[in-house]
């Protein structure tokens, strides 16, 4: 933004004296603005993707699944009145599990199932890969677990060597709490 303002300021100075240099500065300013927008978009998307607000958790996960380098089916639905913070935490947790599946599992297919009963939202993420996922091995899953704990949620991992991997994310969303 600083360099954008600088380019525009210099262009303003030069506009009469040197039209060619002005055109060059304006073109630089434009590409700076476009790349700032791209950065901003990446950050915003990593915090709270717009599609979550548009389509809710299940819709957001369906959109995410389309972008993955692994065929993933998304089944079921989330409660309509899920608080945005819970929705976001559940989305990011699921996204992290799927990213791990793509990166490490050598799976050929994955699945996400959403179930809720008025008190608890349960998301089961599976893949048919090699298993052996270990939350101690990377920061990703531990970060996800910590974030879920903020909402009294939890993540249970079942990933025997040889697979398959089954991850269950549980988040209370109603007046009830987990036992």
């Amino acid at each position: 933004m600083v360099s954008l303002a600088l380019s525009l300021g210099m262009a303003q100075d030069l506009i009469r004296a040197d039209p060619d240099a002005t055109a060059q500065l304006l073109s630089e300013a434009r590409s700076t603005a476009v790349s700032a927008l791209a950065d901003l978009r990446t950050v915003m998307h990593s915090i709270h993707p717009a599609v979550l607000a548009d389509r809710g958790l299940a819709g957001g996960l369906r959109a995410l699944a389309l972008d993955l380098a692994l065929p993933v089916t998304v089944d079921g639905d989330a409660p309509a009145a899920l608080p945005a913070a819970v929705q976001s935490a559940a989305y990011l947790a699921t996204a992290e599990c799927l990213a791990n599946a793509v990166k490490h599992s050598r799976a050929t297919a994955g699945g996400v199932t959403l179930r809720h009963d008025g008190a608890v939202l349960r998301i089961v993420v599976t893949d048919n890969g090699i298993g052996g996922a270990d939350p101690a091995a990377g920061l990703g899953l531990r970060g996800v677990m910590r974030r879920l704990e903020t909402f009294d949620g939890r993540l249970d991992l079942d990933s025997p060597a040889g697979g398959p991997t089954v991850i269950t994310i549980t988040v209370p969303h109603g007046p009830g709490r987990l036992p």
Partner: protein, 215 residues
């Protein structure tokens, strides 16, 4: 060429005014400029513009009202040409827009308006019943998980990516710096490898590619 009639839906006043100026400067007639979803559906159906340029995110809900309004209007006016602008492009939305197979669809990142020449060309292409998909959507659509694409050569994949954006052979040739004839050979080979019916019509080419990617 008679002036194209355009309906614009954008809730940010500054951007709306900027786009109105841009379209007027390029000889479009802005027949309506609205800032919300319900008004957009009414105007699209009542005014039947040559093309509409629509922000995905509109009041009252500031979610995907623009997209929903467009889909609703196209149910009443099949094939109504629409170019949707968004801060972030989703494959899911691209697929919803293209699902009726009638063409006349554009889906671009908002930033693309800063390249005025290309943006205006995209609006005209959509108005003519063609397709203008953002390169970032196309890149996702052509993702490597679609195994049969492995059969394509790197050059053919490049050509396919341009084709899916809605470009003609001449335009593809110009940006890859090869002759239009050479592009024709590549497209013929792509169609053969993917088992698609060859077609000269730009929009049908895009829809054929997308239908293939879906399958």
């Amino acid at each position: 060429m008679s002036r194209m009639r355009i309906v614009l839906a954008e809730d940010l006043t500054l951007l709306r005014d900027g786009l109105i100026r841009l379209f007027q400067a390029h000889d479009f007639e802005v027949v309506a400029a609205v800032d919300n979803g319900p008004q957009l559906i009414r105007d699209l159906v009542a005014l039947r513009p040559d093309v509409a340029v629509v922000d995905v995110r509109l009041p009252p809900g500031y979610s995907d009202e623009g997209l929903r309004a467009v889909l609703a209007a196209r149910q009443q006016v099949p094939g109504l040409p629409v170019l949707v602008l968004s801060q972030y492009v989703e494959q899911l939305y691209a697929r919803e827009l293209l699902a009726d197979g009638l063409g006349g669809i554009g889906y671009l990142l908002k930033d693309r308006v800063s390249d005025v020449g290309q943006f205006i060309a995209a609006v005209r292409r959509v108005a003519d019943g063609g397709t203008a998909l953002d390169p970032s959507v196309v890149a996702k659509l052509l993702d490597s998980r679609r195994r049969p694409l492995d059969r394509l050569s790197p050059r053919e994949r490049e050509v396919l990516a341009h084709m899916a954006q809605g470009r003609s052979n001449a335009a593809i040739g110009a940006s890859l710096v090869i002759t239009e004839r050479a592009v024709g050979k590549h497209t013929a080979s792509i169609f053969t490898k993917l088992g698609l019916q060859p077609s000269e019509d730009d929009n049908r080419r895009v829809l054929a590619v997308l239908a293939y990617l879906e399958g």
